[in-house]
């Protein structure tokens, strides 16, 4: 049996960042990861580090995150491949242009450097864009990073501060003890005063272990990687009609994927049908990608919540039990700041107002925020 002040369940970027900040505040932490660090969503997501086009409830948190990203590589002492060269959200249809305008109006109170540009302006910024994009939202202070390297950087930095990261340790049971919580795994038992569920798509199953229903499901995504190419574009690019994301890494590979989420399948396998769909999306938005060879592909799992906003906070009626999951495909950029603010909350007992919109209790009462609101309207 092992013990620490805090047991963190989930060795993704959220769990590793949390452990890193807990240890920086004089607390001991053990991270329990059922497979390997960054093996699920954290190592396999699009890598966008973006403020714009978010729900206004999440935007201040994203802006706070972007203040931390430029210094992260130095702070963690390991590469993140962070590139702050802008985010472009392309729109081909009038409906998508309207959604972009709506997002721009939503975010206006926060004075973000985001603007709506027409097709000609877009092609000056991104000559690589295909002919169908008619407008785009551009935010120069956004960018992208390598999610697997960033997760590994947090894990290594957490270990240096004394955190234990146990891989291959799947939690089978969670028991309340006199002093707090006990996590039971195949590899042993772990005791802590506080337990934090940062298990991504596995968060709902962990919730079920303590009789709590967390409205989070896994959704599969498909990603393809091309051979290395000369620099083509340096922004993080999304297209809401082609349902595509794309970025070019510092080594020249273009990583792209399909934003369509498949809720019926989870897992890391590559399905030819999904790969073809992702390739079609790429050719629709960025036809010049046709010239590049695809050298690798992977599937990944996102943790999508009912209102597509994260759940961050304690669970009702379970003292010392926190959850931080359900970031619904836009959590990678936020992880550095969420880990820091959640560590503050656990250590000092004070919630940052930036986390207030994400109280898990919103699903047990009224007053939800809904990131899909304008689609329903």
């Amino acid at each position: 049996m092992a013990a620490a002040d805090v047991i963190v369940i989930g060795g993704g970027i959220g769990g590793c960042a949390l452990a890193y900040h807990l240890c920086g505040r004089g607390r001991s932490a053990i991270v329990l990861e059922r497979r390997g660090v960054g093996d699920a969503g954290s190592g396999r997501n699009a890598g966008g580090v973006r403020q714009q086009a978010r729900h206004p409830a999440e935007l201040p948190l994203a802006m706070a995150a972007i203040e931390r990203w430029p210094g992260l590589e130095r702070e963690l002492g390991a590469p993140t491949e962070y590139v702050q060269r802008g985010n472009l959200v392309l729109a081909q249809s009038e409906a998508s242009v309207r959604r972009l305008e709506q997002r721009l109006a939503w975010q206006a109170p926060f004075d973000l450097d985001s603007e709506l540009i027409d097709g000609a302006q877009l092609r000056r910024l991104l000559p690589f864009a295909g002919p169908r994009a008619r407008a785009a939202l551009h935010c120069a202070s956004d960018g992208h990073a390598n999610p697997l390297l960033t997760t590994a950087a947090f894990a290594a930095a957490a270990r240096r501060r004394g955190a234990r990261i146990e891989t291959g340790a799947e939690v089978r049971a969670l028991e309340q003890t006199a002093a707090g919580w006990r996590a039971v795994t195949d590899r042993g038992r772990y005791d802590g005063e506080v337990v934090v569920n940062v298990a991504g798509a596995g968060a709902a199953a962990l919730g079920a272990l303590v009789d709590r229903s967390l409205p989070i499901v896994g959704a599969r995504t498909q990603t393809l990687v091309t051979e290395r190419a000369a620099p083509l574009f340096d922004q993080f690019v999304q297209d809401w009609d082609a349902k595509l994301f794309a970025r070019q890494t510092v080594s020249g590979n273009v990583i792209f994927g399909d934003l369509t989420e498949d809720y019926l399948l989870a897992g890391r396998q590559v399905r030819p049908a999904d790969a073809v769909r992702a390739a079609r999306a790429a050719l629709d938005a960025l036809p010049a990608l046709a010239e590049l060879q695809v050298i690798r592909a992977w599937g990944g799992t996102l943790d999508v919540s009912l209102d597509r906003m994260p759940l961050i906070g304690p669970l009702d009626g379970l003292p010392g039990h926190f959850v931080s999951a359900g970031s619904s495909g836009h959590g990678f950029a936020l992880a550095p700041v969420v880990g820091e603010l959640l560590a503050d909350w656990i250590v000092a007992g004070r919630r940052s107002p930036l986390l207030a919109p994400f109280d898990p209790a919103r699903f047990s009462s009224t007053g939800t925020v809904d990131n899909n609101a304008e689609q329903a309207a």
Binding site: A105, P109, D118, P353, A356
Partner: protein
């Protein structure tokens, strides 16, 4: 004097749908103009185009003589206040007001003073250290206004800024906004669907219907001299009847609308189809005693029975059924002599003056010219321009 804002034939289409359909509007320096209309009329899209959140499909947006249509939001020199006051939750009131100054690299030494001044302008002196969660809705909206004022824009756009506040606070805030706007002299365009708010606040009201401006004028003109039937019905209460011109001479019209005879100023051809309107507050009521019924009450008058009374506070809204079967509204002062006698079942004589009757082009076949409707709809600067 050069106008602060000019919209020239502004158009916005989404696919086949034309949401804003050729809007021309000029707003003078220091003027507060409301863009008023029902939801879906295009007022929010118009505001978004001025702010830079949406690209016009056609036309021009000119701010202080410069076409800003191609400029991004933050280069337009336009301040924005929204329905959602959306403050940074982790920054104090002062921190929120300072945010925009810091982004614009204002010298450090200047910031504290300017923030203090801006908070004072919205009566938030001494509350700069409070966090948004510690402030009431009205105080948060004041901070949101201070956040805009501190940047000293000469044009401020307000998008239904008070619609999240309760009724009493909304009234307080709109009168405060008016006071601040007049004291500081900034130009403001205020989008609202609330006609009462628009009337109370504005130098001029621009009424929008299905993507077009149908009337731009001072509140009292829009109220008493509506340019169209839509304006007459959308702004306040109206007694509105379809009728036919029976005689026209020397700028005077005689109109028959249902069982009522009307006299009013106007020009239209004999036989033309028109709408006639009189506001309920221009209709006077007098009780009719038994045996005083007499014959024809004459034009601009009707006898009838009170069917309902509704107290509005200072006034009372009385619904009559006229002897001809028309439904007629009269708004009387509760404190007026004889008001207590005006109860349901009572027979009354209703009268109104010819100068209070508005004759509108009904737009039906046979109608000829709009009885000054067109002139009132022109979007010109008021008086001095």
């Amino acid at each position: 004097m050069r106008p602060e804002l000019e919209l020239r034939n502004l158009v916005r289409r989404y696919g086949d749908e034309t949401v804003v359909d050729g809007v021309d509007l000029t707003v003078g320096k220091g003027e507060l103009v409301s863009l008023l209309g029902p939801s879906g009329c295009g007022k929010t899209t118009t505001l978004r185009m001025i702010a830079g959140f949406a690209k016009p499909s056609g036309g021009q947006i000119v701010v202080r003589g410069e076409d800003v249509s191609a400029l991004p939001v933050h280069r337009r020199g336009v301040g924005l206040v929204f329905q959602s006051y959306a403050l940074f939750p982790h920054l104090s009131a002062a921190g929120n007001v300072a945010f925009g100054l810091k982004r614009r690299r204002t010298p450090r030494g200047e910031i504290a003073g300017r923030v203090r001044e801006a908070l004072a302008k919205v009566q938030m002196d001494g509350l700069g250290d409070r966090m948004p969660a510690q402030l009431s809705g009205g105080q948060q909206q004041r901070v949101a206004l201070a956040r805009v004022l501190v940047l000293e824009p000469s044009l401020i756009l307000l998008d239904e800024p008070f619609s999240n506040l309760d009724a009493l606070l909304r009234e307080t805030m709109r009168s405060e906004l008016r006071t601040i706007q007049q004291r500081l002299g900034f130009t403001a365009l205020f989008v609202t669907h609330d006609q009462e708010e628009a009337m109370a606040l504005s130098d001029r009201v621009a009424v929008m219907e299905r993507g077009r401006l149908v009337q731009v004028d001072r509140p009292e003109v829009v109220y008493h001299r509506p340019a169209t039937r839509f304006v007459a019905e959308f702004i306040g209460r109206a007694n509105l009847f379809a009728g036919t011109v029976e005689a026209a001479a020397g700028g005077e019209l005689a109109v028959r609308a249902a069982a009522l005879r009307w006299q009013a100023a106007g020009t239209a051809a004999r036989g033309a189809a028109v709408d006639v309107m009189v506001r309920p507050d221009c209709v006077a009521l007098a009780p009719v005693a038994a045996g005083e019924e007499g014959g024809d009450p004459g034009p601009n008058a009707a006898r009838g029975e009170i069917v309902q009374t509704e107290y509005l506070g200072s006034g009372c809204l009385v619904t009559l059924r006229t002897d001809g079967g028309e439904r007629l509204l009269a708004e009387i002062r509760t404190a007026a002599d004889g008001a207590a006698e005006l109860v349901p079942g009572r027979r009354v004589l209703a009268r109104w003056a010819a100068r209070d009757v508005r004759v509108l082009d009904a737009g039906r076949a046979g109608a000829e010219g709009g009885a000054e409707a067109g002139a009132a709809a022109a979007a010109a600067l008021p008086g001095a321009s």
